[in-house]
Symmetry: C2
Subunit: 192 residues, 2 copies
């Protein structure tokens, strides 16, 4: 809680979230509990935006590195189903995180909600969780293939593949933490 | 809610959970909301036990099928790192789900809590989530290898591998849903 004061930039307008009025204060009640809850919710909102922004960056890198990984002969990514899978999931993850970042930035700047809060919490949580599973699945499927290729030859093709896999794993880590935050938000929605 | 009445076996003693007294009623308040909350929590407790039991069954099957997958020559699972990974995660998942099922059955039968409620909710959620990620990762890594082997030869070795992979995926599905339930429980803990 205390590091919030150091980070709070003055241009972000902290609003009372619409859920706070009907949601229960789980602290020891009173004004202090409600204030702590608002601070936590504001921190979580900005934290999830930052995490999704980083995930967007990493998935973009992963899919661009993999898509440009064509060096002739056997060193073309599209000869290997694992790499095609990694590319597909990289694109999907970029689209999803891009859409989420766009929506969150717009909500922060205009103050209007594009989706109903309950619907948004569901989309957030299931989206994060499913994309996280897909990312870890595609990265894991591409690792053994790359290992085996690198035993034979260590060149720009295998290095680029390894880079794309690492980027996917970083994007997975960000989305896994983001799914935690979204899961907490979903559970504290009233009338779930 | 209505299917609870059909399933409720008389021997399971429904207790008021210790969290319910201090946790907020998220319904429209009053006795009805609290009763609905108790019913939901009881349903969730039994649902998570059932899901972990099924996950235990599937991970046991997966690791037994894979461990007995030795048919001489190149048809030995331990020549392939993907299959060794699948086996290791199968064993880990069996141990984890076995321990959880043991704990939950003991809590249901004796009524005593082995862990503090908050600690138990954390262990449940992070355990389920991490094992689910590991299971999907190991299954995904083993799929392309098996695909490639089956293009050359379709025999008892590749069939057993495919069976073990499927069992891992089923165990993953159960644990993913169980992680959802544990996440909800964790979020409704007071003083989180």
């Amino acid at each position: 809680m205390s590091n919030l004061d150091g980070n709070s930039s003055p241009k972000i307008h902290i609003e009372t979230p619409p859920v706070a009025s009907s949601a229960p204060a789980t602290g020891n009640g009173g004004i202090g509990g409600i204030l702590r809850r608002w601070k936590r919710e504001d921190l979580m909102k900005r934290g999830s935006l930052a995490l999704r922004g980083i995930a967007l960056l990493f998935s973009l890198l992963s899919f661009i590195v993999m898509a440009s990984n064509k060096h002739g002969d056997w060193r073309e990514f599209d000869h290997y189903e694992e790499y095609r899978y990694l590319l597909a999931i990289g694109i999907l993850s970029s689209l999803y995180t891009g859409g989420q970042v766009f929506r969150q930035v717009q909500e922060l700047s205009t103050g209007k909600q594009l989706l109903q809060p309950r619907m948004a919490a569901m989309v957030d949580f299931f989206g994060d969780q499913i994309i996280a599973y897909l990312l870890i699945s595609s990265a894991s499927s591409a690792v053994p293939m790359t290992n085996r290729l690198r035993e034979g030859a260590d060149n720009i093709f295998t290095d680029s593949s390894a880079a794309a896999i690492s980027m996917s794993i970083f994007a997975f880590l960000c989305l896994a933490v983001s799914a935690l935050i979204s899961g907490y938000k979903l559970s504290t929605q009233p009338y779930i």
